[in-house]
Symmetry: C2
Subunit: 255 residues, 2 copies
DNA sequence: ATGGACCCTCCCCCCGAAGGAGAGTCCACC
DNA sequence: GGTGGACTCTCCTTCGGGGGGAGGGTCCAT
């Protein structure tokens, strides 16, 4: 039985932290003197203390730490997975950041273009938040092309402008005169005037260029209409991520 | 000029956040109505808003965000570097965590052994905190072996038991009868009784076994004396990290 | 001119941690 | 068997980054 200070040194935690973990039930002392309130720990609890330290240094919330320690089978697995996802996300974010800081937003070449209405086959995907849009989009593309359509295809992504908690992503395939939809919904995308800008680079970073497009519209006080369209010009299977070309378009209100 | 709500949507930040960034001087509105206090932003400020969002999602403190935005040349570089280091640290921590959770601390085979005193050549390194011990140790090894000593060598690391903010790490090379020190300090490591345990695995995870050793001593109420010794049995140049063998020893008080 | 959407400030809450005040306790040494 | 210093207790405050909501003022389109 060790008093709290000694145990803190053993487990590389602060006394404050140990008291807090006791309070929250994450790590209870082996014995508490009812008279004095003194906490006493067994040296064998050092393993738990150590685990808490490691988990916390990975930013795992104490609630989850508690679950992991109490032996929930899936908890540790969940933490592992969450961390892998987080690491990947940070890499992507860092790349985006460097792009923004280095070149600024590529806001220069915004053009106003007129587009005809087109007939398309559409599938819809639900993304769980902004972070999930990339996954949802590629899932949609996979579903839409599942029928084995041969290139060249003209794919368009449709994204609501103000992203909510849950984002409804749509992927559209432009149909020729006699093409069928292969089970997908057929719709006509409206034509008219669009603000358009070209994004060159990985799909991760499209949102940066999209911001620039929206900022351009906001600056000119021209209202936007309908979803943001992404026209995928390059084939990611044959083009390096840094060279992928995508046209971004947003419908303009006729005023 | 956009009011705060519109600008928030544009930059994917909350109104609360924008107000806070104004207050802290990280991102000032382009114009504030002195009568009403209303904040107005230029659409071109969206780039900054976006950068803040990215930086914050990388856990960069607002103070640093401010520096980066105000164009300090080194700031962004510093953030990049810090992130790389952080990613690497998280990988290591995760590996340690999995070891602790999977097998528990390898606390079983602690032995009490008697060691003779040995004459050694010693170099000292200063580690900036617990996280830096690994780097400092390998730096010490490099300095000590710089003279080109041929294997087999017997290397011992010496670490203070209660790690402070600044940790003095020492690396010792066991000298034979007639060996010289090659410029390094020569000292005699005291012999006597030691608690000893064998660590098998990457050097990153030695601290886990070390905790187990200290916990073993604490459990038996036997006081420890002198630094923790790590005897490097394997050669990391020829052995896979998972198979590296290291003896950990801590001097026992004769009582 | 009026209603609803928007904006303001101010206060409290969350998490996880740190520091300090003031009082009580343990223990080793004399 | 004292006693002093190190230790421990609880409670309060602060920090960073953010969220929710109250109460009241403002903008603008109908």
């Amino acid at each position: 039985m060790l008093p709290i200070g000694q145990f803190a040194r053993l487990g590389r935690l602060s006394v404050k932290q140990l008291r807090r973990y006791d309070e929250l039930g994450v790590l209870r002392p082996a014995y508490v003197d009812v008279e004095t309130g003194y906490r006493y720990y067994r040296a064998s609890q050092a393993r738990e203390a150590l685990s808490i330290g490691l988990l916390r240094s990975l930013d795992v919330p104490l609630a989850v730490v508690g679950e992991v320690l109490s032996g929930s089978a899936g908890a540790l697995e969940g933490v592992r997975e969450g961390l892998e996802v987080e690491l990947a996300r940070r890499r992507r974010t860092l790349a985006s950041l460097e792009r923004v800081m280095a070149q600024g937003l590529p806001s220069e070449p915004v053009r106003v273009v007129s587009e005809p209405a087109v007939r398309v086959a559409v599938v819809r995907e639900i993304a769980a938040g902004v972070e999930d849009v990339g996954r949802a989009t590629s899932a949609g593309v996979a579903r839409l092309l599942g029928g084995g359509v041969e290139p060249p295809v003209r794919l368009i992504g449709l994204f609501p402008v103000d992203l909510q908690e849950v984002v409804e992503v749509e992927v559209a395939l432009v149909l020729g005169e006699g093409d069928g939809a292969g089970g997908a919904e057929v719709r006509v995308l409206r034509g008219g005037r669009f603000a358009s800008v070209t994004h060159v680079g990985p799909y991760d970073q499209i949102s940066l260029t999209a911001y620039a497009l929206l900022a351009w519209c906001a600056e000119r006080r021209c209202g936007v209409r309908g979803p943001l369209r992404e026209v995928y010009v390059s084939d990611p299977a044959v083009t390096a991520p840094d060279d992928l070309v995508t046209h971004l378009m947003i419908g303009l209100e006729e005023s």
